[in-house]
């Protein structure tokens, strides 16, 4: 069984937003709503500034609060590691939205269910990469199987210091960040 994960190499991200639009089109996300976003964070004072660019999405946590807090079992962790939703079970109680430390969920305005990134499971089933990864101009987003030592994600995690978002939340994310601020040493 594969163990899917994503690595975001922040050094390569140029905040071009291709991922944001590709995701919306692939997954028919309603207007005004998003499954992924790009954070542009600048610290310091002119002219001593540094910048961090970070694309964020569902972390597909191994310890997912949204799944634990779902009262109907609509949110579930699939064996390959993806946190997914059985839409027909969702009552729209919003507990998952409130429980996600990454604010990765939203209520689909057209359908009422609690929607989120699925790592484009429909594309993975076809053997493709998630839409955001496939279109990522900077090749900043890397997707693959952690169980496969030859996969791009395994290699990236082996070769680089990496972090997860809000590690202290204890959620064990499956989205890893290779982080480096603007000024290389």
């Amino acid at each position: 069984m594969p163990k899917y994960a994503m690595v975001v190499d922040q050094r390569r991200c140029v905040a071009c937003m291709a991922c944001v639009v590709a995701c919306k089109k692939e997954n028919e996300v309603p207007p005004g709503q998003f499954r992924t976003r790009v954070v542009e964070q600048v610290e310091g004072e002119f002219p001593k500034l540094r910048m961090e660019l970070r694309s964020e999405l569902c972390n597909h946590c191994d310890n997912p609060p949204c799944v634990y807090n779902c009262p109907t079992g609509a949110s579930y962790k699939s064996p390959d590691g993806m946190v997914l939703l059985k839409k027909n079970r969702c009552v729209g109680c919003k507990a998952c939205v409130a429980s996600c430390p990454y604010d990765a969920r939203y209520i689909n305005e057209e359908k009422g269910f609690a929607d989120k990134c699925t790592f484009c499971s429909q594309r993975i089933a076809e053997g493709k990469q998630p839409a955001c990864v496939s279109t990522c101009i900077g090749k900043s987003r890397i997707f693959g199987d952690l169980e496969d030592p030859a996969s791009a994600v395994s290699a990236a995690l082996r070769d680089n210091h990496h972090d997860v978002l809000l590690a202290s939340a204890g959620t064990n994310p499956r989205v890893f960040y290779i982080k480096k601020f603007g000024k290389p040493e």
């Binding site: 071009c16 101009i137 900077g138 000024k183």
Partner: protein, 732 residues
Amino acid sequence: MKFSRRTFLKASGAAGCSLAAYAALPEKFLLWAEEQGMLKASYVPTFCEICFWKCGAVAKVLNGRVVKLEGNPAHPGARGKLCARGNAGAGLLYDPNRLKTPLIRTGARGEQKYRKATWDEALDLIASKMKHIKSEFGPESVALFTHGTPTDHFLPLLSAYGSPNVGMPSFAQCRGPRDVGLELTFGEGIGSPERVDLTRSKVLVLFGSHLGENMHNSQVQDFADALAMGTKLIVVDPRFSIAAGKAHSWLPIRPATDLALMLAWIHVIIKEQLYDKAYLDAYANGFTELAAAVADCTPEWAAHETDLSAESIVETARLLGHNAPNVCLHPGRHATWYGDDVQRSRAIGILAALLGSWGREGGYFLATRTSLPKPESKPFPEPAKAPLNLGNFPFAGAEGVTQEIRRATISGTPYPIKGWIVTGTNLMKAMPNQKETIEAINKLDLLVVVDVMPTDTAMMADVILPECSYLERHDALAVGKGRSLSISLRQPVVQPLYDSKPGWWIAKQIANRLDLADYFPWQNLEEKIQAQCALWGVNYQELKKVGTITIPNSANPYITAEAPAEFKTGSGKIELYSKELKEKGFDPVPRYTRHPVPRQGEFRLVYGRSPVHTFSRTANNPELHELYPENEVWINSGKAKDLGVINGEYVVLVNQDGVRSNRIKAKVTQRIRTDCVYVVHGFGAASKSLSRAFAKGADDQGMITRYAVDPICGSTGMHVNFVRVEKEGVHA
């Protein structure tokens, strides 16, 4: 331009019954049906037209609807990826604000009042006016303003009609001075896509270019690869751009002083003998004259001019020198800044030559030598009058100087211009000083605009012709010249919506009515493309399937002992000292001149790009609009505090001539110098028919009432306007 629902239904009904059937099935249902295996998606390759990079794209079509666009892996400009705008291409196709039928103006110019017309009526009207202009003033009195693929259809129409007067804003309002400067130095330009060898660069310099925000697909891919490789990046920009955020050295230069920095770099590189002597001996002319000319351009002098430290200037110059020749000084793209832009481009070229990076790894690679035979066509008539689109500029390019046509239209000299055809460009937003553009338009007997969207310029036209979007039409084959030659096909992914028509059809129809049918000797463009493919030995059926066919490189991309360099300059060498310029009375070596600086309370207005928008073209695209619905004015935090402006509040810009902008949100930031403000270009649409973009944000072009014309090539420097920032409603 208001359509009731009833008229809308009628219009779409005219486009065919099958279309109506598609429209009735909601996209969600189609996707669901696909998931259930009831429908099979088809994938159609084409190339993108949301910007000029012309990326190969593959459209996923479900039951006649485009549901997704992806990059074509076979295309060298896309490599399987599309940017945000390319991904949002279907937003243009399905934009409800699209031009749907031909329109004929009923109100005064600029009143935006139109009535619907049939194609026959609109085309007959255009033909009769063009015939009238030809008989009364001569065919030279019709000018064409154009950009992108429509040029392939309408330039032949103009030439066949007998006019040489074409103006492409891509020259005088954009790349012109860059290309001219490099041509004067190396005998050729850098091409598009630029032949910068980023993935092998050890040092990359960006002057004002905010690559990344400037979303040029394959080049940004290379840029990211370079960053990941650890290429040292030097960014010269008054603003802490995304690229500056990645930089090893960010040089927050005082605007308009770039040339001083470049000359100081040349000075240091020569003084410290960091240049590539063997390369210069073999390939360059005029080193002695150059060294003499920059003798006084010390880092200390440049520090005073540029507001940078002398140490940082020396340090970066050494960084360049020590990594030569694997350094790339990116010549940028939109280079029309201050009116001495050819000379700035020359200075970049000279630096590149000193470092020996032209034709070397990590610098600039050489284009493929492969070429394709030109198809035979009927020769165009020789115009009776001299072209006026080159003005008095000795180095103006064949793309024409737009504002020279505008000037002649207003003055009537050397001969009157009575008709404008505008295709693929929104002149109101592309050319500086809108008052002049409007004045010129008011002198016209005929203004035809061919476009997909009701742009500001379309809303000034006498006749508006609705072109179908790039996803609904054939266009000429796109030939890309990089390391290898690529041929890409644009083909309809879906049938045209509404009563819109492809550009080739429109041009051919006008030609037919002007008795110029001989110049369009084919039934439809596909027939012409097929003939071209046959001529080039390309399998058309294969091309239809794969979208792009690449002819492998036949020349070395780098200068080697076996393949020494050739330069197509007058002397056959790199011109560090330009005799050509000297002959025409210009500085043979770039010389720095000081430009005016903003007065107390004023800021220099600089503008640039957002990665999710192309010019003013995408402001109404639903998917892109929601990411960046209106532009913001970047203002230094300290200055904002003095003005009492808080982040996110609406302000108004007032330029030196008293022109007031639409209201615009203030982005109060540490990321910009105190002497300039920055906006993203292309907002503040005046066209009421653009329901999303209308009056959103400020139109930078409206603030650009002054422009500094480069005497060498006629390009318009547009970073020369000064604005005050006022709180909204203060002096309303």
